[in-house]
Symmetry: C2
Subunit: 445 residues, 2 copies
């Protein structure tokens, strides 16, 4: 629990987290490639004093396009377009360590950080999709290799971002000295996966460095989060599970010499909120009713919960056996473990489960008070620093959250009433990292 109150990101993808969100006549189908649509979302998030927009991404056209929008515009560009029409909210594009080159990626993220005056971050993913790999003439590496590559990539990006010491940019119009090359350091990196000389041709960020964000889902993902991430947002379905996860990550961080309290835990939350419980339930039914009908209720629930077809045997009301959630079936690294735990904790049937889980994340359907209660309970228990809000319909449900839940949390004294700073790092309450190159120079004196 951060002592500066709650923090929120918003998950920004297409028409929203719910597959039927694009069927809303208020949202033109072309919105998914319309910068103006995303500008409206960014303004709402900023009105709600959110820390940042998180943009999921995969460099692949997936088959889901037949029935709804998928990720399209390249996220560092889209974030830049939004950065210039906002002042305080941050931007976290998702970029794969498997299909990018470190110099180019580090330069783009640092450029976003400058274009936003210090509001940039990077959601680090390793991308296991064969269809994405085929767009780069590659095979998907084994998971351990992907994360080893990711660790080298992020270490290298940090080193590139640190290349310009404070004071490197001189800008003396009298003497004609623009920069001091002795204070611009090459990365001189020669590793297992990359050889990058550097330096980057972009000065250091106004916030020191872009913020590193990661899901922390699989086992190597959790280690990676503990050693590299400053914000962790992966799936957490229950309060005890979230609390244990945070303890685990903080312990690994401490074992690596990091201060675990300087990691923000913002697991995803799908809120369906309205002034009353009844209206919220109707809102959810409205969205669900627009999904294509499945052959049977059991088949629909199997699909919604990523369960093997036929596994429910038509029985949607008996408690779910935790072991039916298996990694081999489910296209989400953190979900199987969290779902098995949630099944064991709750004894929920498939029908009940599907009222609390949507697309692998915790779903909360309720009144303003009920959604605020859920958030406050998890935060007061020290399990989270806040949430990554995944609105079912991006524009509509983000607006409901900002109009209803945000003022309620402010009344309760657990959410800020203005931005504390001008950078993403300042708003998250994260420290500005020291520049190791500067330290080297000081030691040498």
């Amino acid at each position: 629990m951060s002592d500066d109150g709650l923090h929120f990101l918003v998950n920004v993808t297409g028409a929203g987290y719910h597959r039927a969100a694009w069927l809303d006549p208020d949202v033109p189908p072309g919105s998914f490639i319309d910068v103006g649509y995303y500008q409206g979302v960014a303004e709402t998030a900023e009105r709600g004093l959110f820390d940042a927009l998180l943009l999921p991404d995969i460099p692949q056209q997936n088959a889901g396009i037949a029935t709804g929008p998928t990720q399209s515009l390249e996220p560092t560009l889209l974030c830049t377009a939004l950065a210039v029409t906002t002042e305080r909210v941050g931007f976290i594009p998702t970029l794969s360590t498997s299909f990018n080159r470190p110099y180019n990626l580090a330069r783009r993220v640092l450029s976003l950080d400058h274009a936003s005056n210090g509001r940039g971050g990077w959601n680090v993913v390793t991308t296991a999709a064969p269809g994405a790999a085929a767009n780069f003439g590659q095979e998907v590496l084994p998971r351990e290799d992907r994360y080893r590559r990711a660790a080298e990539f992020v270490d290298l990006a940090n080193r590139l971002w640190d290349g310009w010491e404070d004071g490197a940019l001189v800008g003396d119009q009298q003497s004609g000295e623009f920069a001091d090359p002795a204070k611009i350091h090459p990365a001189a990196h020669h590793g297992e996966f990359f050889d990058v000389e550097g330096p980057l041709n972009v000065p250091r960020s106004p916030q020191g460095r872009p913020v590193i964000v990661q899901a922390g889902a699989s086992d190597p993902g959790i280690r990676f989060a503990a050693t590299h991430a400053e914000v962790v947002y992966g799936a957490q379905l229950s309060l005890p599970g979230a609390a244990e996860f945070a303890r685990e990550v903080r312990a690994i961080a401490a074992a690596h010499g990091r201060d675990g309290d300087q990691i923000r835990f913002l697991p995803a939350l799908v809120p369906v909120v309205a002034p009353t419980e009844q209206e919220a339930a109707e809102r959810w039914e409205h969205l669900q009713s627009r999904l294509p009908p499945g052959p049977t209720e059991a088949a629909r629930l199997e699909a919604a919960l990523w369960l093997a077809p036929g596994i429910l045997g038509g029985d949607v009301d008996s408690p779910l056996a935790p072991e039916i959630f298996t990694h081999s079936q489910i296209p989400h690294e953190g979900f199987p473990r969290a779902a098995a735990r949630f099944a064991a904790e709750t004894g929920y049937s498939a029908r009940e489960f599907a009222r609390h889980i949507a697309g692998g994340h915790r779903l909360v359907i309720g009144s303003t008070q009920q959604v605020a209660d859920h958030i406050e309970e998890w935060w007061r228990a020290g399990a989270v620093d806040g949430f990554t809000i995944a609105p079912p319909a991006l524009a509509h449900d983000l607006q409901s959250f900002v109009d209803l839940v945000v003022p309620e949390l402010q009344r309760r004294g657990i959410y800020r009433d203005r931005y504390p700073g001008r950078t993403l790092r300042a708003n998250l309450g994260l420290p500005v990292p020291a520049n190791p190159f500067a330290a080297l120079v000081d030691t040498a004196k």
Copy 2:
């Protein structure tokens, strides 16, 4: 000569084309990483009805940073930031075919094209700098290989950009059909340099495809321009040279089945313009006086003209021998040939030469009338469709050009008084390319 009148691009780099431009106290040294500064430039270009901003780039911190700003913010991001605050002017980032992956590059340029509603282009460069290659763990390929890779890269980018047929995006909120996967075509490319399956996860551009731009400088560069480029902007120092170059490129284009009249020739021009000839000369002297003093006038001229040190032997007033401009000395692919020709045509001394050439491009110092005369003469001769203006001090000299030369060209009836269209292609007078995937489908019917 295009019958729709003159076209202009503006070369946007740091404080401007002149190394001393950043010493102007009106331009803060931090402008080179300030989006707001570039927004001002884009607004001026749009006021002047320019076709586009052209952003040179190299993924490398070069040593020139000691004495002035170099390229810094990643150009597709910077262009996107400028696209959302403008309505008609286009954006042409420079991106290297040696240090990018086709799927990522094609996606970014097409994203820029959507973010600007069809005002995007790509300045294709192959990048021969070893310092850039070292940032990617690579060696510089031989020139022929670089251009063969570039040709495969651009063909592949075009194919990726064409992936979504017209009609692929259905967006029927009644039926729930969002897109027709049968109309979204993979690139299925397996070539000498790349294996890319596709399709891109971005619909086709509002202008059909981003515009391909290239310098057309070296011999393979000229072939590449003739076979792939829609805008050619390389160095041309004299009218006969420019006319011969355009004829040569158009002939090669025709031999490859292209309509050479659909290539726009916009060679670079460095204008120093003021209401009177005297004021323009003073403006140039003012800029030149701020360059660091060299040991001798001959050494200064040798440096300015990229000549081997000592080659003038102190003699700055005798006609230059054309053969002293050699490729081995000069860091610019097209300049040696154009400079040798210009020396032969003019018989200029080094001193005179340096009043007509700046940084490898044609320099024109003069009154509004004189600069307009130069532009009109080249255009009426059919040697060019316009120019890529490289303002010595970007903000100041672009503004002078737009305030002085643009109205004069309009008075002469050879420059438009409003934008003819909303896309870069429409403004350049270039056709919307047919989509070969759509043609395949039609043939199959």
